[in-house]
Assembly symmetry: C2
Homo-oligomer: 306 residues x 2
């Protein structure tokens, strides 16, 4: 069976993942917002370490009402736009459609399930350095693996098919039998690097090169692991050193929140900070450093938004 | 007995406190650095909420070797310059001289005592909004009280005389019988406001006006009080609300560390952060938020120094 894909939010992530699927011959339908007119004329350009390509004829839309119902919907919006999903998704959905939230943080699937209690919902975690550098133009710098796990309804078979499609399209992909664990593990990286790169206006490389921020990143990682463990998600302490080492050899990279900050966009504070803090607090676990980071970020965001 | 005063470091603090003493007719001798030539020609100008004045003929020096021995030395340098004291002080000192360190933080007296084990040493705490706004020009905006306490050798009688001289000169002054407590109490204010105003590039007013930073300031204050109590210095929790309320009604003010940051000068991280952290650690007390702030400040300072 050949799956029909929708990509909701064709930016750094959606442009890359959807682009790779389409480039390999899959049936992919892309929702654009600001770039719609440009892409209709010029197509979608992906400059990737895996090889550059240009999709001149692309199934582009600026409204989901014009789109076909799809088997798989890859939601690649920022979580700060998730309030839109309630109206955006229905035209794309048939009885078997699975919606995969390729997003950061902890609460997106749960919030979506409140509005769509019968929908097949999954989460996707992108381990990738990718930026949108211009209209219809994605620059994929490093990594690229996507991990997909089920949140609601039995959809493992479909998700494994999606992983196969990705792999056939040269994108490393893996099914996770424990989405909650995968999300917490990603937070171990996201929480220190995203927030500190904004608060200290710097890069992952600079954070790693100064003893004091290296120690701070490390201690925040331990705090996140402590919270995960308190919430019943077992992550070994050794995972911290793994994350530090793999960041050390990463190309100098501005985390997505830093790019949002530089472009004066809303920051994903809710998904990456407030939701894990609330989850940990539910289990009686206190995260003083993450609490402090969340407060600093709220202050910074409010100093330029509205 | 009329006391002879030396002021070492005639800036925002030394210029105000020494200036007030001299203006009231006390015998005061001022050490200048960059402003020496200017002050010899133009005198010292103090614009103060207590009344402006201009000391046209001032005992100005640029080297303590030319200065007389004094009964009281008011050290008003930043703690970041304290390595200089070993060479600066000896010409000023007779057998009864008391050196009062009018400085921030926790460790200055102890460090000085290591080099001068027989010296009469005291600490001074300035509760003041005062800035140096130009060569030989001090702007005193608000408050002004100085608290003085003994650190080493019996010098209470002399310090009470100093307080009287200040009061006669219209400067509120008080002898503290517990310098350690006074220093910790001042840290309750200094630790949150100095650091956060640098890290978030803002003012005390903005920190108070945003719910998240208000909560952060408050929680850091509780952490500092916890550390003080662990170190055997009893401070009531109610002191936090007192500090918050009095800051709320302060004129918008950039803490001294923010001014140092804006002018790309070294920050007093050692005195205000590292020393209290080390002291608390000695007593087995952990300060996660203050630790995080110290690390953020070290990173920021090192990004512009050398």
């Amino acid at each position: 069976m050949k799956l029909k894909y929708a990509v909701v939010g064709t930016g750094a992530l959606g442009g890359f993942y959807g682009g790779m699927l389409a480039h390999a011959g899959n049936d992919v339908h892309f929702l654009f917002h600001n770039d719609y007119d440009f892409v209709c004329k010029n197509g979608l350009k992906v400059d990737s370490v895996l090889g550059d390509f240009h999709l001149r004829n692309i199934n582009a839309y600026n409204n989901t009402n014009q789109m076909p119902k799809c088997d798989v919907v890859l939601v690649c919006l920022k979580t700060t736009n998730n309030a839109l999903l309630r109206n955006i998704l229905p035209p794309l959905i048939h009885s078997e459609t699975c919606v995969i939230l390729v997003q950061n943080g902890l609460k997106a699937e749960r919030e979506l399930a409140e509005f769509f209690p019968d929908l097949s919902i999954a989460g996707g975690l992108a381990f990738i350095c990718s930026n949108k550098v211009g209209k219809g133009h994605i620059l994929h710098l490093d990594y690229g693996k996507i991990t997909i796990g089920s949140f609601q309804k039995e959809n493992r078979e479909l998700l494994e098919q999606v992983c196969k499609d990705f792999i056939t399209s040269k994108v490393p992909a893996e099914f996770s039998s424990n989405l909650k664990e995968s999300r917490w593990k990603k937070l171990v990286w996201n929480i220190p690097y995203n927030g500190l790169s904004v608060v200290l206006n710097t890069t992952t490389e600079q954070l790693m090169n100064h003893t004091k921020t290296y120690e701070l990143v490390r201690d925040i990682m331990f705090e996140v692991i402590g919270a995960a463990n308190a919430c019943g998600v077992k992550i070994e302490k050794g995972f911290v050193q793994e994350m530090l080492d793999s960041t050390r050899i990463m190309k100098p990279y501005a985390p997505s929140m830093k790019l949002d900050f530089d472009n004066k966009r809303p920051l994903e504070i809710g998904a990456i900070y407030s939701a894990p803090l609330a989850e940990a607090a539910n289990y009686g676990f206190n995260m003083p450093k993450v609490t402090m980071l969340e407060r600093q970020l709220r202050f910074i965001q409010d100093s330029y938004l509205k």
